[in-house]
Symmetry: C2
Subunit: 213 residues, 2 copies
DNA sequence: TCCAATTTTGACCAGTTAGTCAAGAAATTT
DNA sequence: AAATTTCTTGACTAACTGGTCAAAATTGGA
């Protein structure tokens, strides 16, 4: 019996399947994140994955299919630390931890951040449903948590939604605008202590603000 | 005498020239900002500008030429308010004004913001030189100003460069991630009071932080 | 009005791209 | 080792893309 194209939906994955799918998604992440969906070419992804385009299309039947896979993976990774914000934790400590994790993610996988940013900038054609359902539910939930913290006087009174946006914005900026930051800071941005420096500054600004105390 | 293609570099511009060039750059801004450089097609830009592709290419001889024009214009607009930060002004007031202007820009021309973001995310192939020369000089200058303010105790002690990044990140987020914000806030994000609400929240977070006082 | 310059267009071309197909190579099972 | 399944590839196609060209339509000044 001829197995469906690369065991499409079946759970069983051979060693080769697993390896090649990983190679492809990694390559796709690189290419999509710099060239965008339309700008990326299947040929280029295949080349970077070290195989022929035909072979790549054996594993993922279409360009959109690869993109979908990669972006879904990205979204999952992106969501996890946000979901872990603990309503029973110390507010400042919880947010400090979340900000730190997000900054770390921007440092270790800027491509994923850029891929997501790109998708949103295009009007989120693929993840719009995710945004309005799962993400919205989660954001509403966490915004309520932040609201409670504010009511308890454990956090300054700011709109919880905009606070979430501010955290996302500042942390992802280091991935999405990496080229600009590198150009403006020169060698400093590549040095070893940079991420600690950035982390310290971002935390200081978001937690304490810039008004002198 | 046959005039060079659409008076290429000559200063003289007929009424038709002026009108059509404006139509083209506006259309190009829309298309480039959503589809990216490679994803955008000359045909699509022409269609949106309401003319044939051939005619568009009469005014701008190549796709790259249009892109260059649009992005240079964008960069100029983007730089102006930053350059206006006054070393002799009241620090908090100066930064408040700058943040407010940038938020307004995100609201009135989100396409320009997305176009620039897109260019940077691609590794800034076209504006890299601008970043490392003119922009770097200006940022160094303003960072020094902020440093002085901090030394005078008129601003909390934060790294000036990262402060600038934080301001850029938070303000542009409202343009670049418009789709996400709309999806998460629903009707609220389209309402009339929204930009004031966003502005208030961003200013509150950046100026005062989220730690309760 | 008449004429030259400007503006606009359809037909066309060469290069690129996503995806197909049939056949060969490699791995796995029997 | 033979048979079968899985994996890989080169050759190909149809659609699309950036750009050219020559000719037609329009504009504006004399």
């Amino acid at each position: 019996m001829a197995a469906g194209a690369a065991q499409a939906r079946s759970g069983s994955r051979s060693r080769i399947q697993t390896e090649n799918r990983a190679l492809i998604t990694q390559a796709a992440l690189d290419v999509f994140s710099t060239d965008g969906y339309r700008g990326a070419t299947v040929d280029r992804i295949a080349e970077r994955a070290g195989m022929s385009k035909t072979n790549l299309l054996y594993y993922y039947p279409s360009k959109e299919d690869i993109y979908r896979t990669v972006i879904e993976q990205t979204v999952e990774d992106w969501l996890r630390p946000f979901a872990q914000i603990d309503p029973d934790g110390e507010p400042i400590e919880e947010l400090r931890r979340y900000i730190t994790v997000k900054l770390k993610m921007s440092e270790t996988s800027p491509e994923a951040s850029r891929l997501f940013a790109n998708e949103i900038q295009r009007g989120a054609p693929l993840v719009m449903e995710f945004l309005t359902t799962r993400l919205k539910a989660l954001v509403d939930e966490k915004a309520a948590v932040i609201g409670t913290w504010i009511d308890q006087g454990r956090l300054a009174p700011v709109d919880p939604y905009h606070l979430i946006f501010a955290i996302w914005a500042t942390t992802q900026h280091y991935a999405d605008f990496e080229a600009q930051i590198g150009a403006l800071l020169g060698s400093q941005a590549k040095g070893p202590g940079f991420s600690e420096q950035a982390s310290h500054a971002v935390l200081s600004i978001l937690l304490n603000g810039i008004r002198p105390r």
